[in-house]
């Protein structure tokens, strides 16, 4: 990812927040203002109560405020350009989250479904590699920072 800094025009479409994500509102945001959209693919990542053979009671997400938003905006711009998307929204939560809660939402809007599926999939894969956010998994017998996950 280049060093372009904050992308112009993200306008709330690449952000980090503590509270729940309103899926319907983000769907409206990504399709708003155009009738060209033929399909939107929405990915929502959730906290599981089980990971690598043990129970999970909660996950703490820590982010690098400022850099995380910058990298999300760069990711959004790159996905739009790479897949010819009409728009893309990416929202990641921080703080303590319990099993069943949302972690991240990506909504990719395109004229045709293939680009929307591919753009959404690419975006979550890249997010896991480049955006400075970390998770600490809490289990009944202790907590551990995760350094890599599928």
């Amino acid at each position: 990812m280049g060093g372009a800094g904050a992308m112009p025009g993200s306008d709330g479409r690449a952000r980090v927040q503590r509270g729940p994500i309103d899926v319907a509102a983000e769907l409206a945001r990504v399709t708003g203002g155009t009738r060209r959209v033929g399909g939107v693919v929405v990915f929502v990542g959730l906290v599981r109560d089980f990971s690598q053979g043990h129970a999970v009671t909660k996950i703490l997400f820590e982010h690098f405020a400022g850099m995380a938003e910058t990298k999300l905006a760069e990711l959004r711009a790159a996905a739009i350009e790479r897949f010819g998307l009409i728009d893309l929204v990416v929202v990641h939560r921080f703080g303590e989250l319990e099993p069943g809660e949302q972690i991240v939402l990506i909504a990719a809007a395109a004229e045709h479904r293939a680009a929307a599926f591919d753009g959404c999939s690419w975006c979550i894969d890249e997010l896991k590699k480049s955006v400075p956010i970390w998770k600490k998994e809490h289990a009944p017998d202790g907590a551990v920072w995760l350094e890599a996950h599928p």
């Binding site: 972690i103 991240v104 896991k128 955006v131 400075p132 970390w134 998770k135 995760l146 350094e147 996950h149």
Partner: protein
């Protein structure tokens, strides 16, 4: 020169602080020299700072050990990311 150093996740816990200001005398260091200076001060943090998987950002952009530092730079050290 003065540098702001920030730590995240496991490194923050090892350092015991979110951030510190480091006063540096003499020729400006690169990221690698700063990292070694910080690592030499505290064993627990040092082990994490010397990890081959360590990531570094200077002024919110990913950097390498060879990245030159200037007065006022913010240098962040953190483990591999694990969001999503």
């Amino acid at each position: 020169m003065r540098l702001t150093v920030r730590y995240f996740a496991l490194l923050r816990e090892r350092a015991g602080v979110d951030a510190e200001v480091v006063a540096w005398d003499g020729p400006a260091p690169d990221v690698g020299r700063l990292r070694e200076h910080l690592a030499a001060r505290a064993p627990a943090l040092g082990e994490a700072l010397r990890s081959g998987a360590l990531l570094v950002a200077v002024n919110h952009e990913y950097a390498t050990a060879a990245t030159a530092l200037r007065d006022g730079d913010e240098v962040a050290f953190f483990p591999p990311v694990s969001g999503g």
